[in-house]
C-alpha cells in the first residue's frame, strides 16, 4: 500500500477541486489532487452554457446586487444568504482570473467577454465559449495546476475519510488501474466530489456521480442539508433511448429557442407563477422583443427557473400534449438562421446530428426533464467552506447552501471558482496551523481493506442489477412530483436494496474492474438515496426542486428551515434547523417570500378544454 503525506489533499478534480488545489498550492501548502477518472475529464468538462458573473460587459445595469437577488429568488429564498452574497460579489474576479491563465471566452464587439442570457438571470450574464464553457474552464485550470506542479493521483477512488479524535487525519482509497490501496495522510482535506445523479436512470450526469463525498463526509461526522432538493433540468434528450437524459443546454433557449407542445403551442405562457409574474413577459410578442431590448420588455417564460420549466413540461406530457417519445419540442430552427445556430451552439448541432439524426437548424428537438444537479449536500461555513469536522472542507456541487431549493443555470461554474478558491485558501491556512496530520488508526485501514476485498470474495448479488434496481426506485418514486405514499415506499425499497447490497459480489480481480468498482460505489449511492428520499418525505411543502403532489403549496414555516441529516450509530438521523436570517439591507434587495398559494405548475393554467391537468 502506498503511504503518502500532504498538507492538503483535494478529493475531486472538477472546477471546484482544481481551483481549491491551485489556491492551496499558491499558499505554500504541499498539495495533492485526487480523482476517480483521468485528470481533465471530471464532470465539469461537460458544462455547456456558461459561467454567471455580473461583469457588466453587455448590460451596464447589472450588478452583484441584481445577481444576488436573482440567485435568492431562483432558490426560493432557501439559500444561505451569505454564500449567495459572496458568490455574486466575487464571481466577476474569478472569471477574469481565468483569462489571466489563458482562457478565451467569446467576445463582445469591443473586445470584452461576451455574456449570454440564461434562465432566471435578469440580464445577459453568462461568460461562455460557444456551448463548451466547461471544457475551457477545466483545461485552463488543469494547465495552471500543471504549471504549479501540483501532485495528481488520477483514477484513484477515495473510500474513507480518516479522523483522529474527530479531526481530519487523511483518507483511504484504491487505484483503479492496479486495484491497490493508497493511504493519504493530510492536515486538511477538501471534498470536491460533485453530485449524485447516477442514483437516477434518466440523468445528464456521468458515472462518477455516485455521491461518494457526501456519504464519506456524513460518516465522518459532517452534516448534510437540503438533501430533498435535486434539480431536474427541463431539457434532456429523449430519443433515441440510448441517449435519453443527455443534456440540451439552456443556451438554446437563451439564444432564442422556444418550447412548444405537440400542437405547436408555446405552453410556457400558461405556467407563469405569481412569484415571477412581474418580471415575465405574458405575450409572445413581448417575449420575442426581450432578446434585443431588455429595458422595455420582460423575460420570456421559456427562461423561467428550471424547476418551473421542468414541472410545466411534466404537466404538458401528462396531459397528452407531449411529443412522439414523451417529451416536448424545443424549436430554434424556425427562429434563428442556420449560421447563427451553428456558431452559437456547435456541440448541440453536432450532438443531435450524430446521436439522433436530427438537424437542429431544420427541425425541432425533442426534449424532456433529466436529473441534473444536487442542490443539497455538505453543510459548510459560508466564508471558509469548513464543514463541522475540523480540517474537512467542501466546495462545489458536493457542498450545499449556495443555491437553496433550486440552482440557476450558470451559477454552478461560478460557485466552483468562488468557493473552490475559498476552500483551498482556508484548508491551507488550517494545515499551516497544524504541526502534523492526526494519527491514522491501523484498525480503520484494516477495516477498509476488508470492506474493499469483500465483494471479490463472494458470488453474490450482481452490482449491475442492484444499480439498475436502485435507479428504478429513484426514477419512479423520487421524481419531479413526490407524494408521501411514494416516498415511504421508496424508503422501504431502499431498505431492501441495502440488505441485498450486504451480499454484493463482483467477478474478476482488482485491476481495472468496473463491476467491482460499481459494487463499491453502490454503498455511497444507497446512503445518499436514502437521505434524499427521507428528507423529501419530511418536507411537507413544495419549493424549488422539491415538489410534493400532496402539499402543492409553499409554506412560509418550512421556508425558514433546513432539513439536516446526521450519522448516528450507523444510521441516518434527520432533524430540522432554522435557516440563517438575512440582514435587512439584503432582505430589501431580494423582496418578499412567495405567498403560500404561489407555488406553481403542479396545476397548469392552460386554457380549458386542452385536456386533463397534471
Amino acid at each position: 500500500m502506498d503511504d503518502l503525506e500532504y498538507d492538503v489533499v483535494v478529493i475531486g478534480a472538477g472546477g471546484a477541486g482544481m481551483r481549491a488545489a491551485i489556491e492551496a498550492k499558491a499558499q505554500g501548502a504541499r498539495t495533492a489532487i485526487v480523482c476517480k477518472s483521468l485528470f481533465g475529464k471530471a464532470h465539469t468538462v461537460m458544462a455547456e452554457g456558461g459561467i454567471a458573473a455580473a461583469l457588466r460587459n453587455v448590460w451596464k445595469e447589472d450588478s452583484w446586487q441584481v445577481h444576488f437577488r436573482d440567485t435568492m429568488r431562483g432558490g426560493k429564498l432557501l439559500n444561505h444568504w451569505r454564500m449567495a452574497q459572496i458568490h455574486a460579489q466575487e464571481s466577476p474576479d474569478r472569471v477574469l482570473e481565468l483569462e489571466e491563465w489563458g482562457a478565451m471566452f467569446d467576445r463582445t464587439p469591443d473586445g470584452l467577454i461576451l455574456q449570454r442570457d440564461f434562465g432566471g438571470h435578469r440580464y445577459a450574464r453568462l461568460a461562455h465559449v460557444g456551448d463548451r464553457t466547461g471544457l475551457e474552464m477545466i483545461r485552463t485550470l488543469q494547465d495552471r495546476a500543471v504549471e504549479l506542479g501540483i501532485d495528481v493521483l488520477m483514477e484513484c477512488t477515495i473510500q474513507k475519510l480518516l479522523t483522529d479524535d474527530g479531526r481530519v487525519a487523511g483518507c483511504l482509497g484504491y487505484l483503479r488501474q492496479s486495484g491497490e490501496m493508497v493511504l493519504l495522510r493530510a492536515k486538511a482535506i477538501v471534498l470536491a466530489t460533485g453530485g449524485i445523479g447516477k442514483c437516477w436512470r434518466v440523468t445528464s450526469n456521468s458515472w462518477e456521480y455516485t455521491g461518494d463525498g457526501m456519504a464519506m463526509a456524513l460518516e465522518a461526522g459532517a452534516d448534510l442539508i437540503d438533501m430533498e432538493f435535486v434539480q431536474f433540468h427541463p431539457t434532456g434528450m429523449v430519443w433515441p433511448p440510448s441517449v435519453r437524459g443527455i443534456l440540451v443546454t439552456e443556451g438554446v433557449r437563451g439564444d432564442g429557442g422556444t418550447l412548444r407542445n405537440k400542437d405547436g403551442e408555446r405552453f410556457m405562457f400558461w405556467y407563469i407563477p405569481d412569484f415571477f409574474r412581474e418580471e415575465t413577459a405574458d405575450t409572445e410578442a413581448e417575449a420575442d422583443r426581450w432578446y434585443d431590448n431588455k429595458k422595455d420588455n420582460r423575460r420570456t417564460p421559456d427562461l423561467l427557473p428550471r424547476d418551473e420549466v421542468a414541472r410545466a413540461i411534466n404537466t404538458e406530457v401528462k396531459a397528452g400534449r407531449g411529443s412522439a417519445h414523451g417529451g416536448v419540442l424545443l424549436d430554434i430552427a424556425s427562429r434563428r438562421s442556420p449560421e447563427y445556430i451553428r456558431s452559437r451552439l456547435p456541440s448541440m448541432y453536432h450532438q443531435f446530428k450524430e446521436l439522433a439524426d436530427i438537424d437542429i437548424t431544420k427541425e425541432p428537438m425533442e426534449v424532456g426533464p433529466t436529473l441534473h444537479y444536487m442542490m443539497g449536500g455538505i453543510r459548510v461555513d459560508p466564508d471558509t467552506q469548513a464543514t463541522t469536522v475540523p480540517g474537512l472542507f467542501a466546495a462545489g456541487e458536493v457542498a450545499a447552501g449556495m443555491h437553496g431549493s433550486n440552482r440557476l443555470g450558470g451559477n454552478s461554474l461560478s460557485d466552483l471558482l468562488v468557493f473552490g478558491r475559498r476552500a483551498g485558501l482556508h484548508a491551507a491556512q488550517h494545515a499551516n496551523a497544524q504541526r502534523a496530520p492526526g494519527a491514522v488508526d491501523p484498525a480503520d485501514v484494516a477495516a477498509t481493506e476488508r470492506r474493499l476485498a469483500a465483494p471479490l470474495e463472494r458470488a453474490g448479488e450482481d452490482p449491475y442489477a442492484l444499480h439498475h434496481d436502485l435507479q428504478a426506485v429513484m426514477q419512479d418514486l423520487v421524481g419531479i412530483i413526490r407524494t408521501r405514499t411514494e416516498l415511504d415506499e421508496a424508503a422501504r425499497q431502499l431498505g431492501d436494496l441495502r440488505r441485498r447490497y450486504d451480499r454484493v459480489g463482483a467477478k474478476g480481480g482488482r485491476r481495472y474492474n468496473p463491476g467491482w468498482n460499481l459494487a463499491l460505489d453502490l454503498a455511497s449511492m444507497l446512503t445518499v438515496a436514502e437521505a434524499v428520499a427521507r428528507s423529501a418525505a419530511l418536507r411537507e411543502e413544495s419549493r424549488g426542486g422539491h415538489t410534493r403532489g400532496d402539499f402543492p403549496n409553499s409554506d412560509p414555516e418550512w421556508g425558514r428551515k433546513n432539513v439536516v441529516a446526521r450519522w448516528r450509530d450507523g444510521r441516518i438521523e434527520l432533524t430540522t434547523e432554522p435557516l440563517a436570517q438575512m440582514p435587512p439591507d439584503l432582505a430589501a434587495i431580494v423582496g418578499s417570500e412567495p405567498k403560500a398559494t404561489e407555488q406553481t405548475a403542479v396545476e397548469s393554467t392552460a386554457p380549458a378544454g386542452l385536456g386533463g391537468h397534471r
Partner: protein, 256 residues
C-alpha cells in the same frame, strides 16, 4: 421530425479484446441484443451487464465531451460513445480493441500517462500587461483561430494514429505528438501570450518528425484541422525563426 426506429438486426457480435498484456490477451466474441440508436459504448455496457462484468472500459460523459472512451473500432481510432451502431456493417463482428500506441492496462483500457508527461514540458501561458483601463481586449476574429484548438478534448486519438510513435516506441522520448502541436499552436497564436516556444517545438517536441500525413486530422472527433491549422503554421514559424538570418541575428541580440 420523428424518425422510424432504425431498421437492422436485433443482435450483433462484439469481438472485444480481453487481457492484461498484449502477448497473452485475445479477442472474445459476445452476442448482444441491440436497440435503436445505440452507440458502441451502450453495447459494451450490455456485455458488462450480461456476460463480462469485469470488462475494463474507460468512459465518463457518454456525450463526446470528455475524451475518455477512445478505442479502435473495426480498426479505426474512435470515441466509443459517439460511434453509432448504424454507422457500421452489422452482419460482421464488430471488433473493439484498445489504442495501440499506449501500454495496456487491461482489456480496452490503456495507460495514457505519456500524454500527461508531455503536457508538463510545455511552457505555460504568459500574458502581456493589461490595457491602460485595466481590461483585456481581444476580438472575436482573433480568438476564433485559437478557439478551434481549445476544442481539443484530449481523447489522444491523434496520438494513437500518428505513425511516428505508433510504429516507433523509440520516438516517444523526442516527439510530443499532434495533440501537443495543437496546444503549442494555441499558445503561440494566443493574442496575449508573450512566451516563445518555437525553439522548444523544434528541439524538444520533435516537430520535424511530422511528415504531414494528416492521419491525425482524419481521426480528430472535434474536427480540428491539426495539420493545416496547427502543425504547418508552427513549421513555418520554425523556418522563419531559425533559418531566416535576420530573425536569427535578432534572437541572438535579444538573448532569447
Amino acid at each position: 421530425m420523428t424518425k422510424a426506429p432504425e431498421a437492422g438486426p436485433r443482435e450483433v457480435t462484439m469481438r472485444v479484446w480481453r487481457g492484461e498484456d498484449r502477448a497473452s490477451g485475445a479477442f472474445a466474441d459476445h452476442r448482444v441484443a441491440v436497440d435503436p440508436g445505440m452507440v458502441i459504448l451502450d453495447v459494451l455496457f450490455r456485455v458488462q451487464a450480461t456476460s463480462a462484468p469485469d470488462l475494463a472500459v474507460r468512459w465518463n460523459c457518454k456525450a463526446g465531451k470528455c475524451g475518455s472512451c477512445s478505442a479502435e473500432v473495426n480498426g479505426r481510432p474512435r470515441l466509443m460513445c459517439m460511434t453509432r451502431l448504424s454507422s457500421l456493417p452489422l452482419d460482421q463482428p464488430i471488433t473493439v480493441a484498445p489504442m495501440a500506441t499506449f501500454p495496456l492496462v487491461r482489456d480496452l483500457v490503456t495507460d495514457v500517462s505519456f500524454n500527461y508527461e508531455k503536457a508538463k514540458t510545455i511552457p505555460a501561458f504568459r500574458p502581456a500587461p493589461k490595457d491602460a483601463d485595466g481590461t483585456r481586449r481581444m476580438y472575436q476574429e482573433e480568438v476564433e483561430r485559437v478557439q478551434e484548438f481549445h476544442k481539443c478534448i484530449e481523447c489522444f486519438l491523434c496520438q494513437d494514429v500518428c505513425h511516428v510513435i505508433r510504429d516507433h516506441e523509440e520516438n516517444k522520448e523526442a516527439f510530443a505528438g499532434p495533440r501537443f502541436f495543437v496546444r503549442l499552436a494555441a499558445l503561440e497564436m494566443h493574442p496575449l501570450d508573450t512566451n516563445d516556444r518555437i525553439e522548444l517545438a523544434r528541439a524538444k517536441h520533435g516537430l520535424g518528425y511530422c511528415n504531414i500525413t494528416k492521419c491525425c486530422t482524419e481521426v480528430c472527433p472535434e474536427d480540428i484541422h491539426i495539420t493545416d491549422n496547427a502543425i504547418i503554421p508552427l513549421k513555418e514559424r520554425v523556418v522563419t525563426e531559425f533559418y531566416d538570418p535576420l530573425v536569427w541575428a535578432k534572437r541572438r541580440l535579444l538573448g532569447r
